[in-house]
Subunit: 440 residues, 2 copies
């Protein structure tokens, strides 16, 4: 029944947003790294410095389709007075045994193929007659259609400097250099580099597995019939989608009825696949607040870090919140309030940073900016509570959508920002500069 | 052997970046929509206007844990002179048959529970003695621990106006209103709304299935031994990761050797699971450019839209490109050059917009901005070709990383932007304002 940031709190303590967040981030630890296949590591954080084992490119190679020649043999060549060279064969990309190019000779060479011994430079095929004897050509004929073109003679119409159109060994990266440093997030270009230096697997922190469940005997699954007093379960869908969006592998368990024993056994069942548990509903001061009732008792309360603490936060929406760790492995659990807008705002403020901390990211928060409030009238806010209003942000202005009611899920679907109204502010006039959380 | 935007082009035509892109976007069509489960539709584009079938909330309900009472019964109530009411039972969330509240009576009510007939307002439990007779309480005792608290008497210490702490039926959305319009991208808040109004499935355009294969007899898979003249296959990894990042379901086939028949049969095999095919390598003017050789012949060349056209673009990197459709279903195919940086830049400019067009998105391009060039010396650029240099962007400034060489994959992994140097510019001085494509 403890949390990692001990403080002198009683049940009457009103937690600030920062205190609750600090407690979560002080408790949640980045997941243990493991070796993953390259494509399974996409979006993950590298935990090792990766050194280049072999220089890139690994050998001098041609950057053009053309002819590998000696500089002296093409010196002074022109369309009027071409150099005529004996073609000794093809050097294709992937060729194992390169030809040797002697004086007066040329090897037909393909982009990426190793510069053969004896050759000093490459002339692009467009500077030659391609072996056809009829002036400059646009390209080579396919080897399969004209195998004889690998031999015979080629006319070269322009000179070339030494090592023209040659990519030097190690000109990209050299063996022993650091390719990527620990802490790098692996996107497509980093995956390109790792593959290019021969790394098929890489040591990263995995994506966290997040189990999402909603609670409430009033909840009915979408597409089923809505009886009297019932509403549809939206939180289990929204929080699963949001957890994925934050980078997690999310499992939606669905809705659990308001029965402490059922909830407790469901949570215990799910622990095996959870790096983080997220619940919604049942955290307030009612007589049927099943999460509060059930989860204060899961796990060994004597063990450090076990047990979930339920709190009141100085915020709106999202006043009631639970946080702690459960089970023998001390899996962190965030218990969010049940109103869909409260649950979503709580996710953005607390669960998303927890997921990103598990991933080992350092940048765990949504970006914030300041914007001018575009509204027809002043917006009110309860004293002593930080309010997060839904808004639309564009070009330095933010416009509130919907009202302050925490059940306004229709307005939430039109919002792309949260407007932050501080605890000590009771009214914000139109035109005032406000802080805005950008929801992406 | 045609493409959708006919123009008077011969093999010598040098295509502009815009012409090639226009041709692709005029050919690629959004995928046919289908009905998907809500969580499978995350990130997809809605193709129907969704109307609210049932008002939200579907009934008047309590926004607090407290007591449902008549206004007159609590008028003038104070701590000194509390109103004492008979508690007739609990109204929990999900209760099927609400109690009736008569004069002098109260029903204990939970957040989200329907306001019972006869009740006019809700007093929060914190304004009462919770039935315990010992002054204001902080919350209710759990029903499972104290079932008797659903009955007895409650002291109410404060009056309440009519419909205080009551969320009215339809105050969120009303039946018949439009919840979401066609074209909306489904993120977590939109999924919340759809679930809340009872929609378990929704009609969207699916994620495109993108098959990625690289070509080249020089390619070795990472973690295998690198023979002479060989390099590691990085494009199949990078392009698969990039396709996913763009929103696709991507399948990495891996590397195919430079043999036209093998490539042709591999592509034909893959058509069954492809909404888009992406190849790398083998598109230039060499004698072993297998993609060019093989794919000009796939499909019925007589049929409209079949066949792949190979082009030279006025850009660097990425000069040789192929585009067309193949197979009986005219699956679009983009054939990218094989150099890793050329392939990646081509992906960003051409494949990503194609994927996002298949998804039905209207915003298909990476964002662009203008930035001041932060460099020690002028950067050169070939006349007549639009150059895309890799750079790092921050605070209105962009700094080139690595050089212009298209093989500099190590520098690419440090870049987060492309610096665009127009066709008619041969040199850009430090401090000049340049166009920048933001890759993040």
């Amino acid at each position: 029944m403890t949390s990692a940031a001990p403080r002198t709190t009683g049940p009457d303590h009103l937690w600030s947003v920062e205190e609750h967040l600090e407690d979560i981030l002080a408790t949640v630890r980045p997941l243990e790294p493991l070796e993953l296949n390259l494509l399974d590591a996409q979006g993950c954080v590298l935990v090792e410095d990766v050194t280049v084992p072999v220089s890139l490119p690994p050998f001098d190679n041609s950057s053009m389709d053309g002819y590998a020649v000696r500089v002296a043999d093409v010196a002074g060549a022109s369309e009027e007075f071409p150099a005529v060279l004996e073609v000794v064969g093809d050097v294709a990309a992937g060729a194992a045994e390169p030809l040797r190019v002697g004086p007066g000779q040329a090897a037909r060479i393909m982009t990426g193929a190793p510069l053969p011994p004896g050759a000093e430079t490459v002339v692009p095929v467009e500077w030659t007659d391609g072996g056809l004897g009829q002036g400059p050509v646009g390209g080579m004929r396919a080897h399969s259609a004209a195998p004889e073109a690998a031999f015979g003679h080629v006319r070269v119409y322009r000179p070339a400097e030494a090592r023209a159109h040659v990519r030097e060994r190690g000109s990209d990266v050299r063996a022993g250099e650091r390719a990527l440093t620990a802490g790098t997030v692996l996107g497509p270009p980093q995956i390109a580099l790792l593959a290019a230096i021969g790394r098929g697997t890489v040591r990263v922190r995995p994506r966290p597995r997040v189990v999402v469940l909603s609670t409430g005997s009033e909840l009915v699954q979408p597409d089923e019939e809505l009886g009297p007093g019932r509403i549809y379960d939206s939180n289990s869908f929204a929080l699963t989608a949001a957890a994925r969006d934050a980078g997690a592998i999310a499992y939606r368990v669905g809705a659990v009825a308001d029965d402490a024993e059922t909830l407790r056994s469901t949570v215990e069942d799910q622990l095996v696949r959870a790096d983080l548990l997220v619940t919604s509903g049942g955290v307030s001061v009612g007589a049927y607040d099943v999460v509060k009732e059930a989860l204060s008792h899961v796990g060994d309360e004597e063990a450090a870090g076990s047990g979930v603490e339920f709190r009141r936060l100085a915020m709106q929406p999202g006043k009631p919140q639970g946080f702690g760790t459960i089970g023998p492995d001390h899996v962190p659990l965030l218990a969010l309030p049940g109103n869909p807008v409260s649950a979503y705002v709580s996710f953005e403020l607390f669960v998303r940073p927890a997921i990103r901390t598990l991933m080992g990211l350092t940048d765990v928060h949504r970006p914030r900016t300041r914007a001018r409030l575009a509204a027809e009238r002043a917006i009110g806010s309860p004293k002593g509570r930080r309010q997060f209003l839904r808004g639309r942000y564009a070009d330095g202005e933010v416009t509130p959508v919907g009202g302050a009611g925490s059940h306004l899920v229709a307005a939430l679907a039109r919002a792309d920002a949260l407007i932050v109204v501080p605890e000590d502010t009771e009214s914000v006039e139109p035109g005032t500069e406000v802080e805005v959380v950008l929801l992406g």
